[in-house]
Protein backbone atom coordinates (compact mmCIF):
# COMPACT_ATOMS: atom_id res chain seq x y z
CA UNK A 1 0.00 0.00 0.00
CA UNK A 2 1.53 3.30 -0.99
CA UNK A 3 -0.19 6.00 1.03
CA UNK A 4 -1.32 6.77 4.54
CA UNK A 5 -4.85 5.46 5.01
CA UNK A 6 -5.21 7.72 8.08
CA UNK A 7 -5.07 10.93 6.07
CA UNK A 8 -7.07 9.72 3.09
CA UNK A 9 -10.58 10.83 4.14
CA UNK A 10 -9.23 14.34 4.64
CA UNK A 11 -7.46 14.25 1.27
CA UNK A 12 -10.60 13.00 -0.46
CA UNK A 13 -12.65 15.76 1.18
CA UNK A 14 -10.15 18.41 0.05
CA UNK A 15 -10.06 16.92 -3.45
CA UNK A 16 -13.86 17.23 -3.62
CA UNK A 17 -13.39 20.95 -3.06
CA UNK A 18 -11.07 21.14 -6.05
CA UNK A 19 -7.68 20.70 -4.36
CA UNK A 20 -5.47 19.00 -6.99
CA UNK A 21 -2.60 18.43 -4.52
CA UNK A 22 -4.96 16.52 -2.26
CA UNK A 23 -6.13 14.49 -5.23
CA UNK A 24 -2.51 13.61 -6.01
CA UNK A 25 -2.33 12.05 -2.53
CA UNK A 26 -5.45 10.03 -3.31
CA UNK A 27 -3.90 8.85 -6.58
CA UNK A 28 -0.71 7.81 -4.80
CA UNK A 29 -2.73 5.87 -2.24
CA UNK A 30 -4.81 3.85 -4.67
CA UNK A 31 -2.90 3.62 -7.95
CA UNK A 32 -0.93 0.44 -7.13
CA UNK A 33 -4.09 -1.45 -6.20
CA UNK A 34 -5.92 -0.27 -9.28
CA UNK A 35 -3.04 -1.21 -11.58
CA UNK A 36 -2.89 -4.69 -10.11
CA UNK A 37 -6.63 -5.00 -10.51
CA UNK A 38 -6.52 -4.08 -14.21
CA UNK A 39 -3.56 -6.43 -14.78
CA UNK A 40 -5.82 -9.38 -13.99
CA UNK A 41 -7.63 -8.89 -17.29
CA UNK A 42 -5.32 -6.70 -19.38
CA UNK A 43 -1.77 -7.95 -19.98
CA UNK A 44 -0.48 -4.95 -21.92
CA UNK A 45 1.52 -2.70 -19.59
CA UNK A 46 0.78 0.52 -21.43
CA UNK A 47 -2.91 -0.29 -21.61
CA UNK A 48 -2.95 -0.94 -17.86
CA UNK A 49 -1.45 2.46 -17.15
CA UNK A 50 -3.76 4.12 -19.63
CA UNK A 51 -6.86 2.56 -18.08
CA UNK A 52 -5.86 3.46 -14.53
CA UNK A 53 -5.01 7.00 -15.55
CA UNK A 54 -8.37 7.34 -17.29
CA UNK A 55 -10.08 6.04 -14.16
CA UNK A 56 -8.40 8.67 -12.00
CA UNK A 57 -9.22 11.42 -14.51
CA UNK A 58 -12.86 10.28 -14.69
CA UNK A 59 -13.00 10.03 -10.90
CA UNK A 60 -11.76 13.62 -10.57
CA UNK A 61 -14.44 14.83 -12.95
CA UNK A 62 -17.08 12.87 -11.04
CA UNK A 63 -16.00 13.70 -7.51
CA UNK A 64 -19.09 15.87 -7.06
CA UNK A 65 -21.22 12.72 -7.38
CA UNK A 66 -19.29 10.80 -4.74
CA UNK A 67 -21.14 10.43 -1.46
CA UNK A 68 -18.54 11.27 1.19
CA UNK A 69 -20.36 9.13 3.76
CA UNK A 70 -19.66 5.96 1.79
CA UNK A 71 -16.33 4.13 1.30
CA UNK A 72 -14.26 5.66 -1.48
CA UNK A 73 -12.62 2.53 -2.89
CA UNK A 74 -15.80 0.75 -4.13
CA UNK A 75 -16.82 4.00 -5.86
CA UNK A 76 -13.40 4.27 -7.50
CA UNK A 77 -13.50 0.59 -8.43
CA UNK A 78 -16.85 1.06 -10.19
CA UNK A 79 -15.25 3.79 -12.32
CA UNK A 80 -12.30 1.50 -13.01
CA UNK A 81 -14.63 -1.26 -14.24
CA UNK A 82 -16.26 1.22 -16.61
CA UNK A 83 -12.82 2.21 -17.92
CA UNK A 84 -11.83 -1.44 -18.46
CA UNK A 85 -15.06 -2.07 -20.37
CA UNK A 86 -14.52 1.14 -22.34
CA UNK A 87 -10.99 0.05 -23.18
CA UNK A 88 -12.21 -3.25 -24.59
CA UNK A 89 -15.05 -1.53 -26.45
CA UNK A 90 -12.75 1.03 -28.06
CA UNK A 91 -10.20 -1.63 -28.96
CA UNK A 92 -12.83 -3.93 -30.49
CA UNK A 93 -12.48 -2.75 -34.08
CA UNK A 94 -8.73 -2.42 -33.93
CA UNK A 95 -8.18 -5.81 -32.26
CA UNK A 96 -10.57 -7.57 -34.64
CA UNK A 97 -10.64 -11.29 -33.81
CA UNK A 98 -8.65 -10.75 -30.60
CA UNK A 99 -11.81 -9.07 -29.32
CA UNK A 100 -13.46 -12.51 -29.22
CA UNK A 101 -11.05 -13.55 -26.48
CA UNK A 102 -11.26 -10.14 -24.80
CA UNK A 103 -15.03 -10.50 -24.56
CA UNK A 104 -14.81 -14.06 -23.23
CA UNK A 105 -12.33 -13.03 -20.55
CA UNK A 106 -14.38 -9.99 -19.61
CA UNK A 107 -17.63 -11.96 -19.37
CA UNK A 108 -16.55 -13.56 -16.08
CA UNK A 109 -13.61 -11.46 -15.05
CA UNK A 110 -11.07 -12.36 -12.41
CA UNK A 111 -11.47 -8.78 -11.25
CA UNK A 112 -14.51 -9.89 -9.27
CA UNK A 113 -12.02 -10.79 -6.56
CA UNK A 114 -11.60 -8.17 -3.81
CA UNK A 115 -9.36 -5.37 -4.99
CA UNK A 116 -6.86 -6.00 -2.18
CA UNK A 117 -6.28 -9.53 -3.51
CA UNK A 118 -4.86 -8.28 -6.78
CA UNK A 119 -2.38 -5.98 -5.07
CA UNK A 120 -1.34 -8.69 -2.62
CA UNK A 121 -1.00 -11.18 -5.45
CA UNK A 122 1.20 -8.74 -7.35
CA UNK A 123 3.41 -8.22 -4.30
CA UNK A 124 3.69 -11.99 -3.76
CA UNK A 125 4.46 -12.53 -7.44
CA UNK A 126 7.23 -9.93 -7.32
CA UNK A 127 8.89 -11.83 -4.49
CA UNK A 128 8.55 -15.09 -6.45
CA UNK A 129 10.09 -13.45 -9.51
CA UNK A 130 13.18 -12.60 -7.48
CA UNK A 131 13.72 -16.32 -6.87
CA UNK A 132 13.48 -17.41 -10.52
CA UNK A 133 16.73 -18.98 -11.85
CA UNK A 134 18.85 -16.81 -14.16
CA UNK A 135 17.93 -18.57 -17.43
CA UNK A 136 14.21 -18.32 -16.78
CA UNK A 137 14.63 -14.74 -15.63
CA UNK A 138 16.18 -13.82 -18.98
CA UNK A 139 13.25 -15.44 -20.78
CA UNK A 140 10.73 -13.52 -18.67
CA UNK A 141 12.65 -10.29 -19.14
CA UNK A 142 12.73 -10.67 -22.92
CA UNK A 143 9.01 -11.44 -23.04
CA UNK A 144 7.55 -9.11 -20.43
CA UNK A 145 10.12 -6.35 -19.93
CA UNK A 146 11.40 -5.92 -23.44
CA UNK A 147 8.12 -7.05 -25.08
CA UNK A 148 9.79 -9.36 -27.57
CA UNK A 149 7.51 -11.66 -29.53
CA UNK A 150 7.87 -15.42 -29.07
CA UNK A 151 9.27 -15.85 -32.59
CA UNK A 152 12.08 -13.40 -31.94
CA UNK A 153 12.90 -14.94 -28.57
CA UNK A 154 13.03 -18.36 -30.22
CA UNK A 155 15.51 -17.12 -32.82
CA UNK A 156 17.54 -15.38 -30.15
CA UNK A 157 17.73 -18.48 -27.93
CA UNK A 158 18.02 -20.93 -30.85
CA UNK A 159 14.87 -22.76 -29.74
CA UNK A 160 11.57 -23.51 -31.44
CA UNK A 161 8.66 -21.13 -30.92
CA UNK A 162 6.66 -23.99 -29.36
CA UNK A 163 9.43 -24.64 -26.84
CA UNK A 164 9.49 -20.96 -25.87
CA UNK A 165 5.68 -20.83 -25.52
CA UNK A 166 5.71 -23.96 -23.35
CA UNK A 167 8.51 -22.58 -21.17
CA UNK A 168 6.52 -19.38 -20.69
CA UNK A 169 3.36 -21.33 -19.84
CA UNK A 170 5.20 -23.41 -17.24
CA UNK A 171 6.91 -20.36 -15.78
CA UNK A 172 3.60 -18.54 -15.45
CA UNK A 173 2.02 -21.53 -13.73
CA UNK A 174 4.98 -21.92 -11.37
CA UNK A 175 4.91 -18.21 -10.53
CA UNK A 176 1.16 -18.26 -9.99
CA UNK A 177 1.44 -21.29 -7.68
CA UNK A 178 4.33 -19.65 -5.82
CA UNK A 179 2.30 -16.47 -5.31
CA UNK A 180 -0.69 -18.47 -4.06
CA UNK A 181 1.52 -20.35 -1.59
CA UNK A 182 2.93 -17.09 -0.27
CA UNK A 183 -0.52 -15.58 0.11
CA UNK A 184 -1.88 -18.66 1.90
CA UNK A 185 1.16 -18.75 4.18
CA UNK A 186 0.65 -15.11 5.07
CA UNK A 187 -3.06 -15.54 5.75
CA UNK A 188 -2.62 -18.65 7.87
Amino acid sequence: MDGSEDTLPASIARAREGDRDAYAEVVRAYQARLRAQVALTVADREAILSIVQDAFVDAWRGLATYDGERPFLPWLRAILRTCIAKHYREQRVQRRHLALVDAALLSQPCEDAPVEDAAERLAALRRCLAEVPAGSRELLSLRFEQDWQVKRIAEHLHKSANAVSMSLLRLKEELSACAQRRLQGRRS
Binding site: G3, R20, Y23, A24, E25, V27, R28, Q31, A32, A36, V38, A39, L40, T41, V42, A43, R45, E46, A47, I48, L49, S50, V52, Q53, D54, F56, V57, W60, E90, Q91, Q94, R95, R96, H97, L98, L100, V101, A103, A104, L105, S107, Q108, C110, L122, L125, E138, F144, E145, V150, K151, N162, S165, M166, L168, L169, K172, E173, L175, S176, A179
Partner: protein, 441 residues
Amino acid sequence: MNPGADDALAALIEGYLEGTIDEDGARTLAGLVQSGGAQARRIRDLVATAGLISLSYDPVTAVDMARSVDEHLTADAQYSDLLRSVSAAIVPRRSWAKTWIGLGALVAALLLVLVNLATYTIRTGPRASAAMVQKLEPAPATIAVLHGPLQPDRAIAAGERVTVPEGSAAVLIIDHEPTICTLDGADCILMHGSPGIILRLLHGGISAEVAHQPPGVHVTISTAQAVVTVIGTRFIISADAARTQLKVLQGLVAFRDRLGGTTAVAAGEAVASQALPASARPASTTVLPVAETWSPLFPGGALAAWTQQHGAWHSEQGTIVGEDRAGGPARILSTRSLGDFTMACRMRILRINWAEIQLLGYNVFVPVAPAQPGTWQYLVVNVRAGQVSATCNGQAVHVQPGLDLGVVRFGILSFYVRPGGRCEIRDAQFCENPDLPLPPR
Protein backbone atom coordinates in the same frame (compact mmCIF):
# COMPACT_ATOMS: atom_id res chain seq x y z
CA MET B 1 -2.25 -33.34 -18.45
CA ASN B 2 -1.93 -33.77 -22.21
CA PRO B 3 1.45 -32.42 -23.41
CA GLY B 4 0.16 -31.93 -26.97
CA ALA B 5 -2.84 -29.97 -25.76
CA ASP B 6 -0.57 -27.90 -23.50
CA ASP B 7 1.64 -27.08 -26.47
CA ALA B 8 -1.36 -25.82 -28.41
CA LEU B 9 -2.73 -23.89 -25.43
CA ALA B 10 0.65 -22.27 -24.78
CA ALA B 11 0.85 -21.12 -28.40
CA LEU B 12 -2.73 -19.78 -28.32
CA ILE B 13 -2.17 -17.80 -25.13
CA GLU B 14 1.12 -16.30 -26.25
CA GLY B 15 -0.44 -15.51 -29.64
CA TYR B 16 -3.31 -13.75 -27.89
CA LEU B 17 -1.00 -11.80 -25.57
CA GLU B 18 1.21 -10.56 -28.42
CA GLY B 19 -1.66 -10.09 -30.88
CA THR B 20 -0.45 -12.59 -33.50
CA ILE B 21 -3.17 -15.22 -32.97
CA ASP B 22 -5.23 -15.94 -36.10
CA GLU B 23 -9.03 -15.89 -36.20
CA ASP B 24 -9.43 -19.67 -35.82
CA GLY B 25 -7.08 -19.62 -32.85
CA ALA B 26 -8.98 -16.72 -31.28
CA ARG B 27 -12.28 -18.58 -31.69
CA THR B 28 -10.77 -21.70 -30.10
CA LEU B 29 -9.34 -19.78 -27.16
CA ALA B 30 -12.56 -17.79 -26.64
CA GLY B 31 -14.52 -21.06 -26.71
CA LEU B 32 -12.26 -22.60 -24.06
CA VAL B 33 -12.69 -19.55 -21.83
CA GLN B 34 -16.47 -19.58 -22.24
CA SER B 35 -16.75 -23.34 -21.66
CA GLY B 36 -16.09 -22.85 -17.95
CA GLY B 37 -14.51 -25.51 -15.77
CA ALA B 38 -10.89 -26.11 -14.89
CA GLN B 39 -9.49 -25.29 -18.33
CA ALA B 40 -11.22 -21.89 -18.39
CA ARG B 41 -9.94 -21.10 -14.88
CA ARG B 42 -6.46 -22.11 -15.98
CA ILE B 43 -6.54 -19.76 -18.99
CA ARG B 44 -7.83 -16.88 -16.88
CA ASP B 45 -5.11 -17.50 -14.36
CA LEU B 46 -2.43 -17.60 -17.07
CA VAL B 47 -3.63 -14.31 -18.59
CA ALA B 48 -3.87 -12.70 -15.15
CA THR B 49 -0.37 -13.92 -14.25
CA ALA B 50 0.98 -12.53 -17.53
CA GLY B 51 -0.54 -9.15 -16.68
CA LEU B 52 0.93 -9.17 -13.20
CA ILE B 53 4.39 -10.22 -14.44
CA SER B 54 4.23 -7.46 -17.05
CA LEU B 55 3.32 -4.98 -14.32
CA SER B 56 6.18 -6.24 -12.15
CA TYR B 57 8.59 -4.90 -14.75
CA ASP B 58 6.92 -1.49 -14.79
CA PRO B 59 9.25 1.12 -13.36
CA VAL B 60 6.50 3.69 -12.83
CA THR B 61 6.31 4.93 -9.27
CA ALA B 62 3.34 6.23 -7.35
CA VAL B 63 4.63 9.77 -7.76
CA ASP B 64 4.73 9.35 -11.54
CA MET B 65 1.07 8.33 -11.77
CA ALA B 66 -0.05 11.20 -9.54
CA ARG B 67 1.90 13.64 -11.68
CA SER B 68 0.68 12.20 -14.97
CA VAL B 69 -2.93 12.45 -13.82
CA ASP B 70 -2.34 16.03 -12.72
CA GLU B 71 -0.73 16.97 -16.04
CA HIS B 72 -3.55 15.24 -17.89
CA LEU B 73 -6.12 17.33 -16.03
CA THR B 74 -4.12 20.49 -16.73
CA ALA B 75 -3.90 19.65 -20.44
CA ASP B 76 -7.65 18.96 -20.57
CA ALA B 77 -8.37 22.31 -18.96
CA GLN B 78 -6.05 24.12 -21.38
CA TYR B 79 -7.63 22.44 -24.37
CA SER B 80 -11.06 23.48 -23.12
CA ASP B 81 -9.79 27.04 -22.87
CA LEU B 82 -8.58 26.84 -26.49
CA LEU B 83 -11.98 25.61 -27.68
CA ARG B 84 -13.69 28.40 -25.75
CA SER B 85 -11.38 31.01 -27.27
CA VAL B 86 -12.02 29.72 -30.81
CA SER B 87 -15.77 29.72 -30.19
CA ALA B 88 -15.59 33.25 -28.83
CA ALA B 89 -13.71 34.42 -31.90
CA ILE B 90 -16.55 33.51 -34.27
CA VAL B 91 -19.43 35.13 -32.38
CA PRO B 92 -19.12 38.55 -34.08
CA ARG B 93 -19.66 36.98 -37.52
CA ARG B 94 -22.97 35.53 -36.41
CA SER B 95 -24.04 38.90 -34.99
CA TRP B 96 -23.07 40.54 -38.24
CA ALA B 97 -25.32 38.14 -40.12
CA LYS B 98 -28.15 38.79 -37.72
CA THR B 99 -27.79 42.53 -38.43
CA TRP B 100 -28.65 41.86 -42.06
CA ILE B 101 -31.73 39.95 -40.98
CA GLY B 102 -32.71 42.96 -38.94
CA LEU B 103 -32.58 45.14 -42.08
CA GLY B 104 -35.38 43.10 -43.64
CA ALA B 105 -33.49 41.85 -46.70
CA LEU B 106 -35.20 38.52 -46.29
CA VAL B 107 -33.84 36.65 -49.28
CA ALA B 108 -30.35 37.99 -48.88
CA ALA B 109 -30.48 37.24 -45.18
CA LEU B 110 -31.58 33.69 -45.76
CA LEU B 111 -28.67 33.18 -48.13
CA LEU B 112 -26.28 34.74 -45.67
CA VAL B 113 -27.58 32.65 -42.82
CA LEU B 114 -27.10 29.52 -44.89
CA VAL B 115 -23.55 30.50 -45.81
CA ASN B 116 -22.79 31.57 -42.30
CA LEU B 117 -24.11 28.37 -40.78
CA ALA B 118 -21.78 26.41 -43.02
CA THR B 119 -18.86 28.56 -41.93
CA TYR B 120 -19.83 28.16 -38.34
CA THR B 121 -20.00 24.40 -38.67
CA ILE B 122 -16.55 24.23 -40.19
CA ARG B 123 -15.01 26.55 -37.67
CA THR B 124 -16.38 24.85 -34.63
CA GLY B 125 -15.72 21.35 -35.95
CA PRO B 126 -12.45 19.46 -36.29
CA ARG B 127 -11.20 21.99 -38.83
CA ALA B 128 -11.77 24.94 -36.50
CA SER B 129 -8.35 26.30 -37.31
CA ALA B 130 -8.92 26.57 -41.07
CA ALA B 131 -9.86 30.25 -41.08
CA MET B 132 -6.95 31.19 -38.86
CA VAL B 133 -4.60 29.29 -41.12
CA GLN B 134 -5.77 31.16 -44.18
CA LYS B 135 -5.38 34.45 -42.38
CA LEU B 136 -1.89 33.62 -41.13
CA GLU B 137 -0.53 31.73 -44.13
CA PRO B 138 3.26 31.79 -43.76
CA ALA B 139 5.75 32.96 -46.34
CA PRO B 140 7.20 30.17 -48.52
CA ALA B 141 10.57 30.24 -46.76
CA THR B 142 9.01 29.46 -43.44
CA ILE B 143 7.39 26.28 -42.22
CA ALA B 144 5.19 27.73 -39.51
CA VAL B 145 3.77 30.85 -37.95
CA LEU B 146 3.72 31.50 -34.22
CA HIS B 147 0.66 33.42 -33.13
CA GLY B 148 0.57 34.72 -29.58
CA PRO B 149 -2.24 36.78 -28.08
CA LEU B 150 0.10 39.58 -26.98
CA GLN B 151 2.66 39.55 -29.79
CA PRO B 152 2.72 39.95 -33.57
CA ASP B 153 2.69 36.83 -35.73
CA ARG B 154 6.19 35.49 -36.18
CA ALA B 155 7.46 33.28 -39.03
CA ILE B 156 9.32 30.18 -37.89
CA ALA B 157 12.03 28.65 -40.07
CA ALA B 158 13.22 25.05 -40.04
CA GLY B 159 15.58 24.35 -37.16
CA GLU B 160 14.30 27.27 -35.11
CA ARG B 161 13.73 26.80 -31.41
CA VAL B 162 10.43 28.10 -30.04
CA THR B 163 10.12 28.79 -26.34
CA VAL B 164 6.82 29.72 -24.77
CA PRO B 165 7.23 30.70 -21.10
CA GLU B 166 5.53 28.52 -18.52
CA GLY B 167 2.06 29.73 -17.68
CA SER B 168 1.46 31.22 -21.12
CA ALA B 169 0.36 29.78 -24.43
CA ALA B 170 0.83 30.46 -28.14
CA VAL B 171 -0.57 28.95 -31.29
CA LEU B 172 1.74 27.42 -33.89
CA ILE B 173 0.32 27.01 -37.38
CA ILE B 174 2.38 24.63 -39.46
CA ASP B 175 3.14 24.85 -43.15
CA HIS B 176 -0.08 26.47 -44.41
CA GLU B 177 -1.84 23.17 -43.81
CA PRO B 178 -4.79 23.26 -41.42
CA THR B 179 -2.54 22.01 -38.65
CA ILE B 180 -2.57 23.92 -35.42
CA CYS B 181 -0.64 23.36 -32.21
CA THR B 182 -1.21 25.19 -28.96
CA LEU B 183 2.04 25.39 -27.04
CA ASP B 184 1.49 25.46 -23.30
CA GLY B 185 4.72 26.56 -21.65
CA ALA B 186 6.48 24.52 -24.32
CA ASP B 187 10.07 24.48 -25.45
CA CYS B 188 10.42 22.89 -28.88
CA ILE B 189 12.35 22.78 -32.14
CA LEU B 190 10.68 22.58 -35.53
CA MET B 191 12.42 20.56 -38.25
CA HIS B 192 11.77 19.41 -41.78
CA GLY B 193 11.11 15.70 -42.13
CA SER B 194 11.25 13.91 -45.44
CA PRO B 195 8.44 14.54 -46.12
CA GLY B 196 6.54 16.20 -43.31
CA ILE B 197 7.33 18.13 -40.19
CA ILE B 198 9.03 17.01 -37.00
CA LEU B 199 8.29 18.93 -33.84
CA ARG B 200 10.82 18.03 -31.17
CA LEU B 201 9.18 18.76 -27.80
CA LEU B 202 11.87 19.32 -25.20
CA HIS B 203 9.57 20.28 -22.37
CA GLY B 204 6.01 21.37 -21.74
CA GLY B 205 2.72 20.57 -23.42
CA ILE B 206 1.22 20.70 -26.89
CA SER B 207 -2.44 20.47 -27.84
CA ALA B 208 -2.60 19.66 -31.53
CA GLU B 209 -5.19 19.52 -34.22
CA VAL B 210 -3.79 17.95 -37.37
CA ALA B 211 -5.66 17.69 -40.63
CA HIS B 212 -5.33 14.60 -42.80
CA GLN B 213 -1.95 14.72 -44.47
CA PRO B 214 -1.14 13.54 -48.01
CA PRO B 215 -0.17 9.85 -48.19
CA GLY B 216 3.31 9.29 -46.78
CA VAL B 217 3.47 12.73 -45.17
CA HIS B 218 3.28 12.87 -41.41
CA VAL B 219 3.49 15.35 -38.63
CA THR B 220 5.76 13.82 -36.02
CA ILE B 221 6.18 15.03 -32.47
CA SER B 222 9.14 13.50 -30.71
CA THR B 223 10.21 13.73 -27.09
CA ALA B 224 13.02 12.17 -25.09
CA GLN B 225 10.80 9.20 -24.31
CA ALA B 226 8.39 8.80 -27.20
CA VAL B 227 7.62 9.45 -30.84
CA VAL B 228 4.08 10.37 -31.86
CA THR B 229 3.20 10.03 -35.53
CA VAL B 230 0.03 11.82 -36.51
CA ILE B 231 -2.10 11.07 -39.51
CA GLY B 232 -4.99 13.44 -38.92
CA THR B 233 -6.42 13.91 -35.49
CA ARG B 234 -6.69 15.98 -32.35
CA PHE B 235 -4.62 15.21 -29.27
CA ILE B 236 -2.76 16.55 -26.27
CA ILE B 237 0.83 15.68 -25.53
CA SER B 238 2.95 16.75 -22.61
CA ALA B 239 6.52 15.94 -21.71
CA ASP B 240 9.09 16.55 -19.05
CA ALA B 241 12.52 15.06 -18.42
CA ALA B 242 11.07 11.77 -17.20
CA ARG B 243 7.90 11.03 -19.06
CA THR B 244 5.62 11.75 -22.01
CA GLN B 245 1.84 11.51 -21.97
CA LEU B 246 -0.61 11.51 -24.81
CA LYS B 247 -4.37 11.91 -24.81
CA VAL B 248 -6.13 11.42 -28.13
CA LEU B 249 -9.36 13.33 -28.54
CA GLN B 250 -10.17 12.37 -32.11
CA GLY B 251 -8.72 10.02 -34.72
CA LEU B 252 -5.81 7.63 -34.29
CA VAL B 253 -2.19 8.22 -33.31
CA ALA B 254 0.81 5.90 -33.30
CA PHE B 255 2.68 6.30 -30.01
CA ARG B 256 6.13 4.76 -29.90
CA ASP B 257 7.65 4.52 -26.45
CA ARG B 258 11.42 4.69 -26.76
CA LEU B 259 11.72 2.18 -23.91
CA GLY B 260 8.97 -0.11 -25.10
CA GLY B 261 6.75 -0.89 -28.02
CA THR B 262 4.40 1.02 -30.25
CA THR B 263 0.78 1.58 -29.34
CA ALA B 264 -2.04 2.74 -31.55
CA VAL B 265 -3.93 5.26 -29.41
CA ALA B 266 -7.53 5.79 -30.43
CA ALA B 267 -9.95 8.58 -29.59
CA GLY B 268 -10.72 8.79 -25.89
CA GLU B 269 -7.59 6.91 -24.93
CA ALA B 270 -4.55 8.17 -23.08
CA VAL B 271 -1.11 6.67 -22.89
CA ALA B 272 2.02 7.49 -20.97
CA SER B 273 5.56 6.50 -21.77
CA GLN B 274 7.54 4.45 -19.32
CA ALA B 275 9.49 6.75 -17.04
CA LEU B 276 13.14 7.09 -17.89
CA PRO B 277 15.23 6.09 -14.89
CA ALA B 278 16.77 9.13 -13.24
CA SER B 279 20.23 8.08 -14.43
CA ALA B 280 19.00 8.04 -18.02
CA ARG B 281 17.35 11.44 -18.06
CA PRO B 282 19.22 14.01 -20.04
CA ALA B 283 20.97 16.48 -17.80
CA SER B 284 20.25 19.16 -20.38
CA THR B 285 18.10 19.53 -23.44
CA THR B 286 21.06 18.89 -25.75
CA VAL B 287 20.01 17.10 -28.91
CA LEU B 288 22.15 15.56 -31.60
CA PRO B 289 22.81 18.46 -34.02
CA VAL B 290 21.52 18.36 -37.59
CA ALA B 291 24.44 17.10 -39.73
CA GLU B 292 24.48 18.72 -43.16
CA THR B 293 28.12 17.61 -43.51
CA TRP B 294 29.94 14.67 -41.92
CA SER B 295 29.72 15.34 -38.19
CA PRO B 296 30.71 13.36 -35.10
CA LEU B 297 28.01 11.16 -33.62
CA PHE B 298 29.50 11.86 -30.21
CA PRO B 299 30.37 15.56 -30.44
CA GLY B 300 33.57 16.30 -28.54
CA GLY B 301 33.79 12.63 -27.59
CA ALA B 302 30.98 13.34 -25.13
CA LEU B 303 27.62 11.72 -24.49
CA ALA B 304 25.59 14.92 -23.92
CA ALA B 305 23.46 14.30 -27.00
CA TRP B 306 22.74 10.69 -26.03
CA THR B 307 20.57 8.95 -23.45
CA GLN B 308 21.99 6.01 -21.54
CA GLN B 309 19.19 3.48 -21.22
CA HIS B 310 21.01 0.38 -19.97
CA GLY B 311 24.48 -0.19 -18.56
CA ALA B 312 27.14 2.48 -18.20
CA TRP B 313 28.55 4.44 -21.11
CA HIS B 314 31.56 6.71 -21.02
CA SER B 315 34.36 8.07 -23.16
CA GLU B 316 37.94 6.79 -22.87
CA GLN B 317 40.22 9.14 -24.80
CA GLY B 318 37.68 9.53 -27.59
CA THR B 319 36.54 5.89 -27.62
CA ILE B 320 32.94 5.45 -26.49
CA VAL B 321 32.66 2.44 -24.19
CA GLY B 322 29.42 0.74 -23.12
CA GLU B 323 28.93 -2.19 -20.77
CA ASP B 324 26.96 -3.31 -17.74
CA ARG B 325 29.35 -4.57 -15.09
CA ALA B 326 26.44 -6.39 -13.42
CA GLY B 327 26.10 -8.58 -16.50
CA GLY B 328 23.06 -6.96 -18.05
CA PRO B 329 22.66 -5.39 -21.50
CA ALA B 330 23.90 -1.92 -22.38
CA ARG B 331 22.08 0.46 -24.69
CA ILE B 332 22.50 4.10 -25.62
CA LEU B 333 19.89 6.15 -27.52
CA SER B 334 20.22 9.24 -29.67
CA THR B 335 18.27 12.19 -28.26
CA ARG B 336 16.94 13.03 -31.71
CA SER B 337 15.09 11.01 -34.31
CA LEU B 338 16.93 10.61 -37.60
CA GLY B 339 15.40 10.12 -41.04
CA ASP B 340 17.68 9.71 -44.05
CA PHE B 341 21.31 9.53 -43.03
CA THR B 342 24.57 7.65 -43.40
CA MET B 343 26.80 6.72 -40.50
CA ALA B 344 30.26 5.25 -40.36
CA CYS B 345 32.24 4.06 -37.37
CA ARG B 346 34.74 1.59 -36.09
CA MET B 347 33.36 -0.80 -33.52
CA ARG B 348 34.77 -3.57 -31.37
CA ILE B 349 32.84 -5.96 -29.13
CA LEU B 350 34.31 -7.97 -26.30
CA ARG B 351 33.14 -10.97 -24.21
CA ILE B 352 30.14 -11.57 -26.51
CA ASN B 353 29.54 -12.68 -30.10
CA TRP B 354 27.35 -9.90 -31.36
CA ALA B 355 25.90 -6.46 -30.71
CA GLU B 356 23.44 -4.39 -32.72
CA ILE B 357 23.05 -0.96 -34.24
CA GLN B 358 19.32 -0.32 -33.94
CA LEU B 359 17.72 2.12 -36.35
CA LEU B 360 14.50 3.99 -36.95
CA GLY B 361 13.26 3.54 -33.39
CA TYR B 362 14.14 -0.16 -33.07
CA ASN B 363 12.40 -0.93 -36.36
CA VAL B 364 15.50 -2.35 -38.08
CA PHE B 365 18.61 -3.92 -36.57
CA VAL B 366 22.10 -4.15 -38.04
CA PRO B 367 23.87 -7.05 -36.31
CA VAL B 368 27.55 -6.64 -35.57
CA ALA B 369 28.86 -10.19 -35.30
CA PRO B 370 32.54 -10.41 -36.21
CA ALA B 371 34.15 -13.77 -36.91
CA GLN B 372 36.69 -12.91 -34.27
CA PRO B 373 35.29 -10.99 -31.31
CA GLY B 374 37.66 -8.32 -30.06
CA THR B 375 38.74 -7.15 -33.51
CA TRP B 376 37.90 -3.70 -34.84
CA GLN B 377 35.21 -3.61 -37.55
CA TYR B 378 34.54 -0.73 -39.97
CA LEU B 379 30.79 -0.27 -40.33
CA VAL B 380 28.81 1.86 -42.75
CA VAL B 381 25.04 2.12 -42.35
CA ASN B 382 22.81 3.83 -44.87
CA VAL B 383 19.18 4.81 -44.26
CA ARG B 384 17.03 6.09 -47.12
CA ALA B 385 13.24 6.43 -46.95
CA GLY B 386 13.00 3.78 -44.27
CA GLN B 387 15.23 1.27 -46.09
CA VAL B 388 18.45 0.26 -44.36
CA SER B 389 21.62 -1.17 -45.86
CA ALA B 390 24.92 -1.81 -44.13
CA THR B 391 28.43 -3.05 -44.71
CA CYS B 392 31.01 -4.41 -42.31
CA ASN B 393 34.61 -4.17 -43.55
CA GLY B 394 33.15 -3.63 -47.03
CA GLN B 395 30.99 -6.78 -46.95
CA ALA B 396 27.20 -6.43 -47.07
CA VAL B 397 25.46 -7.17 -43.77
CA HIS B 398 22.05 -8.84 -43.68
CA VAL B 399 19.88 -6.39 -41.75
CA GLN B 400 17.19 -7.83 -39.49
CA PRO B 401 13.70 -6.73 -38.50
CA GLY B 402 13.37 -5.20 -35.09
CA LEU B 403 9.90 -3.98 -34.19
CA ASP B 404 9.20 -4.60 -37.86
CA LEU B 405 6.42 -2.00 -38.16
CA GLY B 406 6.65 -1.77 -41.93
CA VAL B 407 8.29 1.26 -43.49
CA VAL B 408 9.28 3.69 -40.74
CA ARG B 409 11.05 6.82 -41.95
CA PHE B 410 12.22 8.37 -38.68
CA GLY B 411 13.39 7.13 -35.37
CA ILE B 412 16.12 7.14 -32.83
CA LEU B 413 19.47 5.49 -33.40
CA SER B 414 20.76 3.18 -30.69
CA PHE B 415 23.70 0.94 -29.96
CA TYR B 416 22.79 -2.27 -28.14
CA VAL B 417 25.22 -4.58 -26.38
CA ARG B 418 23.87 -7.93 -25.30
CA PRO B 419 24.10 -8.96 -21.63
CA GLY B 420 27.63 -9.33 -20.28
CA GLY B 421 29.29 -7.70 -23.26
CA ARG B 422 31.41 -4.61 -23.81
CA CYS B 423 31.28 -2.40 -26.86
CA GLU B 424 33.81 0.19 -28.02
CA ILE B 425 33.08 2.76 -30.73
CA ARG B 426 35.60 5.02 -32.45
CA ASP B 427 35.51 7.63 -35.20
CA ALA B 428 31.70 7.56 -35.34
CA GLN B 429 30.38 10.10 -37.86
CA PHE B 430 27.05 10.68 -39.52
CA CYS B 431 25.66 12.83 -42.31
CA GLU B 432 22.08 13.71 -43.20
CA ASN B 433 22.99 15.04 -46.64
CA PRO B 434 22.69 12.07 -49.05
CA ASP B 435 24.81 13.76 -51.73
CA LEU B 436 28.08 13.67 -49.79
CA PRO B 437 30.52 10.79 -50.32
CA LEU B 438 31.78 8.73 -47.40
CA PRO B 439 34.52 10.32 -45.30
CA PRO B 440 38.04 8.86 -45.59
CA ARG B 441 38.63 5.87 -43.27
